[in-house]
Amino acid sequence: MLLGACLAAAPAAAAGEVVRVTLPNGFTVLVRENPVAPVVAVSLMVRTGTRWERRETAGISNFLHAVMVKGTARHGGAELAEAIAALGGKLSATGDIDYSEIRASGLARFWRELLSLTAELALEPRLAPDEVGPERDWLLSRIQKRRDSAPARAFDELYTALYGPHPYALPVLGTRESLERLDHAALVAAYRAAYQPQRMILAVSGQVSAPEVLAEARRLFGGTPRGPGTPDPVLPAPAPAARRVPVQMPAQQTQILVAGLGPSLDDPDHAAVKVLSTVLGGGMAGRLFAELRDRRGLAYTATSYYDPVRGPAALVLYLGTAPENAVRAEAALREEVERIRREAVGPDELRRAKGYLLGRYAMDRRTNERQAWYLAFYEIEGVGQDYPERYRTAVEAVTADDVLRVARRYLAAPTTIVVGPR
């Protein structure tokens, strides 16, 4: 009865539009019909991740998801892998900073089977005790791989120094110490706390019919009762080191990272910091690439990162360079930071940065996998599905004064990490 009534009310999506429905149990479904290619992508996000972790539980969300993909109540690990491959599909699950995600994609004609396997994984994971040890070993090998990789190591060291007591300091993979302590019972408890309908968001994009997907999602996820809720953590304020931290490791290249804490995704300054990041390190006409790489040959990698998160976001300027150039490269990078805090950017440079930023943003949202991710991500971050349009308007309105102001504010006391051979 209820199901029929809701179905009738479900709006049919025009191509490109998003249909959004929250089921009575709090489970949210988003669907975007996209006729471009005969494929479908699914992102199921759940509110758990680094944000909810502490030093002693670091990596538990990702660990949980690694064990989840090893089988469901109905399919063992090998069977599940074969079932997915038979759909021309991929299925994976990982922890992240503000969420954890089950991702699935495959040929559109198998959308129903793909959704069904996604639901099985989310609602009936086997979480077999004998999978915990091997998956821990696998994750420890990946932690080792990150430690052996100079760029990955540099970013891990940076987040530690930049966030201090805030959980964003913790690596998504966790640490050797935390993973060795986390056992099967801890993973089961983490699963129960996270996988409650009101904490879950399902986004589907592809060559599908939105009403059909909604009806199927309702059938698969609508019957799970709303959970007791898990309180949102009260997070300690980040405490950036605001100093230079050298780290020694054997490598052909030296990694230099200079970073400040920027605003969160929903902060009014977000768009201006995006433009600031793009002026400095976006594309091949960005200052780091044009000045430090093209003009002076001081680096191969010369870029910046400012990825949106719910809490304070890292604005990172990044160079990879030969050890013999490291001192000059670091000085040149500092000079770029000083320059952008001293002088307003010119109109051409500002136009280039905005064009590049918005062009990349539009291009990044073309594939169904990215579309599904964006739909779920904006929902999980609570910024609304009109965010892309608001973001575009906000970027266009950014002035040279805004860039100067946010550069002075967010790059006032940067934290520097230098990783390389002695």
């Binding site: 074969e82 093209d294 191969y300």
Partner: protein
């Protein structure tokens, strides 16, 4: 590097991006067929309408790459790739990047053994800008002396970067070891000594010799009609002159045996293992069976190598098989990340998996899964204009566009017995090259 036609080693866990065509040699209903035209000066133009978004991908593919270099020219193809976007007499250094990026566009370039390509993605309304740019850098690159010198440091950095990335470095070493002294085994970045000694006249000569209309393929896919593309292509590329030398046919690569073994001491705590067998070149009719064989061996979590070595024996953290089908030769590779103590057992287990395929063949279910995976790879490739353009450019430079369009249909004709035959033909017990990265 994406040297493969079908299958690339894009990282241990990443799936291969297969560029292939739809069922029965037809493009799917949503897409019209690409239109191929040869201009009087020899430039091949391939155009396809693709209205997934308001952008257009324009790619200049040049039939020149690492394999065309003589011993004292190593790295020149790649160096050109770095220098072309630097400027022309009418475009000062830096202006090309600003032009494209200010319009929300992007550029990229890539060097392989068989080809070099230059890609831009721009709003469809800027197609003229994109094509004029590609034609200009295609024959008028000016190699500003300061830029040429400072770019040397960038290339040295790139050499360092590759060495620091064990997976990339392993693939590079494995390819080199599997082919040496054949041209497909040369260092694509060149050597530090050659790059240090590189002069502007040397580079300009190499450019003038090879960047000629008959070596060029222009691929345009996006929210434009083939007629619009052709008119713009004639205007920008039709007037280019110059004749090619003709590309030499390469001698066949050497046979592989137990002498091709290399152990490299590395700073990482984990070990890496790479095996490479000689396999069919892209021109061989065996490519279809080898493609399916590689899918079944090591493409996904359900593949034989994954299930046996990672899930059952727990000998590796990650394992993958790949097929790099170049124009005149090919290799099948298996690469893995593992604990150094397991190196010997893992290699033996890989050989066991391969031996079982040789002796007992593959199942019909495996064949079906491989086919649907190939179909799916193609379907995901056509989501973006540049993905489709890349598969056409690669096909035109190393294969043919017709073969590309017929690919999936032919793949479906391959039987389980033919897949087993491919394993018997190519994947011998001893006929492979092996590179191991061993922790210090």
């Amino acid at each position: 590097m994406r040297a493969a036609r079908r299958r690339v080693l894009a990282g241990f866990l990443a799936l291969a991006l297969a560029g292939c065509a739809a069922a029965g040699g037809r493009a799917p209903s949503a897409l019209p067929r690409p239109v191929r035209t040869v201009l009087p000066n020899g430039v091949v133009v391939i155009a396809q309408e693709h209205r997934a978004s308001d952008v257009v991908a324009a790619q200049l593919w040049v039939r020149i790459g690492g394999r065309d270099e003589s011993a004292d020219e190593l790295g020149l193809s790649h160096y050109l790739e770095h220098m072309l976007f630097k400027g022309t007499p009418t475009r000062p250094p830096g202006s090309i990047d600003r032009l494209l990026e200010g319009r929300g566009g992007t550029s990229n370039a890539f060097t392989s053994y068989d080809y070099t390509h230059y890609d831009v993605v721009v709003p469809a309304s800027d197609l003229r800008v994109g094509l004029e740019l590609l034609a200009d850098i295609g024959v008028h690159a000016s190699f500003p002396p300061d830029e040429l010198e400072s770019e040397k440091k960038v290339v040295f950095e790139e050499m360092n970067l590759v060495q620091d990335d064990p997976e990339r470095f392993l693939r590079r070493r494995l390819t080199e070891l599997a082919y040496e002294p054949h041209p497909y085994g040369r260092p694509i970045l060149g050597t530090p000594a050659l790059i240090r000694a590189l002069t502007r006249p040397r580079l300009a000569r190499y450019y003038a010799k090879h960047y000629v209309p008959r070596n060029m393929v222009l691929v345009v896919v996006g929210a434009v009609t083939p007629d619009e593309v052709l008119a713009l292509a004639r205007a920008s590329f039709g007037g280019l002159g110059g004749a090619p030398d003709g590309r030499p046919t390469l001698a066949p690569p050497p046979a592989l045996d137990r002498s091709r073994r290399a152990d490299v001491q590395r700073p990482e705590k984990q070990a890496y293992l790479g095996l490479a067998w000689r396999a069919a070149a892209v021109s061989s009719t065996d490519v279809y069976a080898v493609d399916l064989l590689t899918y079944i061996l090591g493409d996904s979590p359900s593949s034989r190598l994954n299930q046996e070595l990672r899930e059952r024996l727990r000998l590796v953290s990650a394992i993958e098989a790949g097929y790099i089908a170049s124009q005149q030769a090919g290799i099948v590779t298996v690469t893995a990340r593992l604990d150094g103590a397991n190196l010997d057992r893992a290699e033996a287990a890989i050989l066991d998996v391969v031996r079982r395929v040789r002796e007992r063949g593959v199942t019909e279910a495996e064949r079906q899964r491989a086919l649907v995976t190939a179909e799916s790879s193609y379907a995901f490739d056509i989501e973006t204009a540049e993905g489709l353009a890349r598969s056409y450019g690669q096909a035109e430079t190393t294969w043919t566009l017709e073969d590309e369009l017929a690919y999936l249909g032919r793949l479906r004709q391959i039987t389980a017995a033919q897949i087993q035959d491919a394993a018997r033909t190519y994947l011998g017990d001893a006929e492979y090259a092996r590179v191991r990265f061993v922790p210090r």
